[in-house]
Point group: C2
Chain length 230, copies 2
Amino acid sequence: MTRLLVEQKVLSENQRIAAELREQFRQNSVFCLNLVSSPGSGKTSLLERTLEAFPDHTRVAVLTGDVQTENDARRLSRFGFPVRQITTGGTCHLDARMVEKHLADWSLADLDMLLIENVGNLVCPSSYDLGEHAKVVLLSVTEGEDKPLKYPSIFVKSELMVLNKLDLLPYVPFSVERARENARRVHPGIEIIEISCITGEGLDHWLDWLRSNWRRNFATSSAYAHKETE
Amino acid sequence: MTRLLVEQKVLSENQRIAAELREQFRQNSVFCLNLVSSPGSGKTSLLERTLEAFPDHTRVAVLTGDVQTENDARRLSRFGFPVRQITTGGTCHLDARMVEKHLADWSLADLDMLLIENVGNLVCPSSYDLGEHAKVVLLSVTEGEDKPLKYPSIFVKSELMVLNKLDLLPYVPFSVERARENARRVHPGIEIIEISCITGEGLDHWLDWLRSNWRRNFATSSAYAHKETE
């Protein structure tokens, strides 16, 4: 490795690009979410269920990050919305420059929502702002209810915790109550939604959350809010 | 953040300390493993089952890493062996200096085996040598069989993949065959053991692996091999 990486400079450079992205999202009324979690918590499955639920004319696009493979982009592109893979090639998180680069030839004016699936990692993505309106952290019931205490930063920075794989609750030693308590201990204001991407349980709450936060961010300009009333 | 971190310097400094640790382990005939995985794959549970299976006089110690909390050290100390928590306070991996520091007042001459549980992270720990004889990567069947392809580096650097949570196989869409194929595609020589820490299935294979690798490393000096024949 020959590249010198000065952490402070990298983070402040990231902040600068993230601020530019945030301004572009604002100007174009694009609601942007940054989905974070451990590997295998179900970010891609949640995106599958989400895209599946959207009407065909929804102006949504997805950027999906992984260290290697284009698997997730393949899984997600079958719903007909624009999907692009960001392969980091070893880097443990997405940064704002990667997002900027992969948005390059997409017109933000044609979008109402951008969903970004981060690299599966409960630590590093918490340090990299992507210009998003909110981070959403997924936690699967198979991972144990202690994760918010062990990896507090990412729960502190997320607006919403989506507790996934409810369908496996009968088979794992996991207390939903304790998981909620732990999440609220590190982030008292965090919202919590419980879902299963397999049975569909709770997905209506997730879609409601998406809709109302989208509206809240773009009360007057949202094409989505307009479409809803058609 | 005021600390400047030059990645290249950090990694070569880590290599230097790791080499010193490796030499100390060799001189004292201490067999050292570095357990890595996603958060919640079952590293601590595997260590619980492992310590439980060891005779009281086994000269084993555990270092267990987490970003926050001393939970794992508490869980593991009830077996009566020396256990120490390394709390990284935000850092996404263990490095050789942390190991060196936390070993400081332990006499390696009194140990035959050191088990190091890394921070739950499938990316960053692969870059940090801790002076171990081998990395062991855990993959839980709830995470999906694509993980070796998506996070190849850590599978390439591990001698053994422990496929955990076999008890959940009936309830998740997971192909053991495909997981094995994917692991061998990125690391043809990787050994694979399938276990469940809940039912105990496969744990005898894991303990056999531990025993034979320990022996292989210290064919003549291992106190463990001696004890076995008592």
